[in-house]
Symmetry: C2
Subunit: 479 residues, 2 copies
């Protein structure tokens, strides 16, 4: 008996074939529902149903006010995830990439390069005019008081506001739960310092922001890198074994949109993680600095949400969403709040009154949620556009999993590719990328690079991506 197909199914099948054959490529825009229905003389609702079924399959994606885009990437090449392969049993890792990082950080502030790897907002993404007005209204409102010290834990009104912003995560905090810091970096440093001593063992993501390696190393801590997988999240069995087999004193993990992999833990994983740390009574320093930059419909969850014992020390900042240069971050350190407060006071007496007041006055204008929405939308569009450039210009062996939030793409080349060589070659062309191994705790991922989609797609960027793609092709050809 022949199964009768609905019309929308036929249309969907036809489009699916075009996608799988490469007629429609990753990032291509589909015709609008209105135009498609006119062209094929079918009802708009039929086209909607067809698109909806393709979206359910993950082949295309709806973007608000923009239309439908192809999301399928033909699997020309599947990378090996070296972490999960190499690290089968938990072990303490030596961190060694200092020189490379110093070199890169120096380059990051060099003027005459095109930076294609920065994990921060391009200035065009920020509400400059409103922030400038906020500073001026703060100056008028405070007068000379803007020159004064504020409380070591930060301005009480700003803390209250940050506490209020957490409500959407289902938790009620007060200003007393918050400690304002010089960016998320200081938040992570102070939290780690609060719960560890030199020589202690901590767990951290096997792939993570190199600044975190350096914080750990600088505090004289030993680290067990726990494998992460771009799409599967954290290896929780490995994590559990680490807790059982080693005298672990703390964990420092990025739970949403890990830098560089874009990995997020699922809500289920977050709950399991909190259960594990509660069982072992080990504090978790949760880095959620990219949490607001999700491309989906809902803000991703946090471990802090499920923390009933105050063991999670939540850390974030406004550096990725508003003003990197203000150096304002914060932590909700749970039961360690008093210790973190003491450390903040000892280290620097408090944070910049000027920066705090500028943020406070910006928030009071009520435009932050709107700004975030717009920022997410732009980043999502940018991400797809940059993925398309990679698809168009990079070697066919290139592989990238489109991230679901954040600023960055974690781009894989074949196993024997040397991204340092690509880094050096790109530098010759005045292009800066980040070689993968500087994010690795075990000197792996030498065939990866981190790219950013923070900058709006202009002709020079397109050109630069083409140059980069060609350089990569030459290297692969040579190898």
């Amino acid at each position: 008996m022949k199964v009768v197909n609905f019309l929308y199914e036929d249309i969907a099948t036809h489009i699916e074939e075009e996608i799988l054959n490469g007629v429609l490529a990753f990032g291509d825009k589909l015709p609008s529902v209105r135009i498609f229905s006119k062209q094929h003389n079918v009802s708009a609702s039929t086209i909607f149903q067809a698109y909806y079924s393709l979206e359910a399959k993950g082949l295309i994606e709806a973007r608000p006010k923009s239309g439908y885009y192809v999301m399928y990437q033909p699997k020309k090449y599947t990378p090996t995830f070296t972490d999960t392969e190499v690290e089968i049993v938990p072990k303490i890792q030596e961190l060694t990439t200092d020189a490379m990082i110093s070199h890169l950080v120096d380059l990051l502030s060099a003027d005459n390069f095109l930076h294609l790897s920065t994990a921060r907002p391009d200035l065009s993404l920020l509400p400059t005019a409103t922030l400038q007005k906020s500073i001026k209204s703060a100056l008028t409102a405070l007068g000379a008081d803007i020159l004064n010290y504020d409380h070591p834990t930060g301005n009480v009104n700003l803390r209250q506001l940050i506490a209020g912003q957490q409500v959407k995560l289902g938790k009620a905090y007060t200003s007393k739960d918050i400690v304002i810091t010089a960016g998320c970096t200081e938040a992570l440093t102070l939290c780690l310092q609060a719960v560890t001593q030199k020589g202690d063992v901590v767990i951290s993501d096997s792939l993570t922001y190199y600044g975190i390696h350096q914080i750990i190393k600088n505090l004289g801590l030993k680290v067990i890198p726990v494998p992460i997988h771009t799409t599967k999240g954290l290896d929780l069995n490995f994590f559990k074994r680490s807790l059982e087999e080693f005298p672990v004193k703390a964990c420092l993990l990025t739970t949403n949109f890990n830098n560089p992999t874009g990995m997020s833990l699922s809500t289920t994983q977050k709950k399991q993680l909190v259960n594990l740390i509660s069982k072992h009574q080990i504090p978790l320093i949760e880095d959620d600095v990219y949490g607001e930059l999700y491309f989906g419909k809902h803000r991703p969850s946090t471990c802090k949400q499920f923390d009933t014992e105050g063991l999670v020390m939540y850390c974030s900042s406004f550096s990725k969403t508003l003003a990197p240069g203000y150096r304002i971050g914060y932590t909700i350190p749970g039961k360690f709040t008093e210790t973190v407060t003491r450390l903040k006071r000892i280290h620097s007496l408090g944070s910049s009154t000027l920066s705090q007041q500028a943020l406070l006055h910006f928030f009071s204008k009520g435009r932050y949620p709107y700004h975030l929405k717009k920022l997410r939308h732009t980043l999502h569009s940018n991400m797809l556009a940059y993925c398309k450039l990679i698809y168009d210009f990079f070697p066919k062996e290139t592989y990238v999993v489109p991230p679901t939030g954040g600023y960055i793409l974690w781009v894989a080349f074949p196993k024997d590719f040397d991204s340092i060589t690509l880094f050096e070659a790109a530098k010759e062309q005045l292009l800066i990328i980040a070689p993968g191994q500087i994010f690795s705790m075990n000197d792996s991922h030498k065939n990866y690079i981190r790219l950013s989609f923070s900058k709006p797609l202009t002709e020079p960027i397109e050109k630069a991506m083409q140059v980069l793609g060609n350089l990569a092709k030459v290297l692969i050809h040579k190898g």
Copy 2:
């Protein structure tokens, strides 16, 4: 043979007798030269000579544009300097005053008290309007760039400017020698961190800002407190013995206008100090945060001036002269610059761009030297006026050495006086003072308090000083 006195000598002797008898009291203003010469029908130059000879004896003091003031304080009471008495041989000291400090720091940011002990500029002393204009011109000049990160070591132009400010101390630095920090507190922390490991032994002033105790304690360092004397400076023999007998890794000393004692090292002592650290190859972290606030004719010298080997890590800030709340300080770490740079980057990525730009634009207006001159003049006047209030209202057993710079008076009561009791009694009256022992590395100086002359002398302040004096009298009477 009778020695013939010059007329000016007779006049001087007469005034001297009035001072010694208490007819003219500490802080009293002498008649102007013009009026005095008219009253006594002698030439102005004779009066000048008389005043000059009294000034040479330290009995009176000329204040620019204001006249001559009595500086002599009858020695009703001579305090014992417990440090030099108790600590005869160098030994490592346990630091223990944490709880008291936390309590005090919490009170320092409480609103409903009159704070009589803060070692920072009263807001009335600061060039608020010019600083506000500077922020606005920075906003205009930079646009969106003001939201961006600056270099981890700070804005290059600001660093260049700070390097230039050091020229008056006879040293030529470049922007590369400077690391900008979150206040002097962070500068001291990073410098100490750069040259020590947990468990190491350091030398520090026996009496010093409690924040310094906490930095030392927090880094897990052991400390040898070296005795200081309000007028005689640092006990260099003790210092020398400490270096010889202990495995000292670093020294952290305030060389000008120590907080709380007001003590400065003489230029000779500074040279000797640099010789000693050079001989032993021990880094000296030089805290000179009050160095610009001298009441004399010349800026006091620094150890950094005499440092030829890059062993002196000079630390200062703009928190005491311009804007505490900006949290901008700096260090010139000599041969340890690279390490300090790395630590700054790891800890917080850099300092607030907004605060740095505001300072930069303020400096570019060229008003800083003028502001400093005015600030010094006001503080000098305030100091004399506050000393007079102590003379007028406090128990006759009170002793204070008028400091030659800074914001604070180090006030001694008799040996068995308990300044914590005075602190508590004052708090009841909504007055906050700092009890001496929180500045002591060995829990001494329980009979001292620190008072501030930062606030302009108003009726409420006069009243408060009277209340405080009465409370002290009651305590002495009871004791």
